[in-house]
Amino acid sequence: MSVVDHTAIELPAVRISEADVGDYIALLKPRVMSLVIFTALVGLVIAPGHFHPVLAFTSLLCIAVGAGASGALNMALEGDIDAVMSRTANRPIPRGRITKAEAMAFGMTLAFFSVMTLGILVNWYAGSLLAFTIFFYVVVYTLLLKRRTAQNIVIGGAAGSLPPVVAWVAATGSISVEPLLLFLIIFFWTPPHFWALALFRSDDYARAGVPMLPVVAGPDATRMQILLYTIVLVAIAAAPWPLGYFDFVYGITSLVLGAGMLVLAINVYVSRERSRSLRATRKLFAFSILYLFALFATLLIETVMRTVMPLVG
């Protein structure tokens, strides 16, 4: 007779990850990250005063990693939505390459290191703002807004608009009107961009139960909202010129690009027949990416020219 009773316990099967580095890179949302890096670079370059290149590189790296962390945490929390949407079904979590817990741990680690590194090596104002940006994207946008309101991407867009502000704060240790203008440009660019996407992916969003504007208010109301936001966007994008922050090169470029956005937004508004509407919204979506990139590239070039020209004579 044994003193100890042995009871067999059925342990759950142990899952050993086969996830590759590429799967983890996909969690960082590299395409979103590239736009974040570019807008943050512009924020750094237009900031006044000398900022050592090593510190500038550190700031950009931390902002990029912070953006990647937000993407990973977002995917960890939205695995169920991603699985039923054709656009996102191929992401690492729906494919079963990475578990939600692994993505969460990965995102939290990156968020911690990006914020701490920016705070310790550059300044704590920038570190705190980066922490707020990650918090806003993950908690306010992903957890609180995305599944509850059609205004999800309007309010949540603030997170995507903050990187140039973080970069400016990293370079200067303070805040000013210029980075706030950059913030507003991205903020008002976000709704037309994402609603154009939501118009031609509305079935996807409806299936996933995400209350995007075309799903809850219909395509016509969305077209009107796209047009209204585009008008405000064009006005705000041109504002740095009359306000005296940038010269006519930027002013003219922003107006030309803005005219392109406006024409495409009007085209979306008037194209109600299905196939025409699909073409119009896809065009607006594609052009909106080019628009933001070109606008910020102009800011970058003009600032570099302004710095280089006096040196050349």
């Binding site: 996830a19 983890y24 590194t117 704590w124």
Partner: protein
């Protein structure tokens, strides 16, 4: 991929979980990526220390 590693000759078969080749390969690649990331972090802290000099301890806020 369910291929299991064969135990080396003259050694007892391993107890517990035996990783497949695919699992071992992906774990190795992940380990290398983590090592590289930590290396970048060390270089970054070293470079900023050189750039800032004694001011590295003088941080606002």
């Amino acid at each position: 991929m369910d291929e299991k590693r064969e135990p080396e000759q003259g050694r007892e078969p391993e107890q517990g979980i035996v990783l497949t080749e695919a699992q071992l390969r992906s774990r190795r690649r992940r380990s290398i990526a983590i090592a590289l990331a930590l290396g970048v972090l060390v270089v970054l802290f070293f470079a900023v220390t050189l750039v800032k000099g004694p001011a590295v301890l003088n941080r606002p806020l």
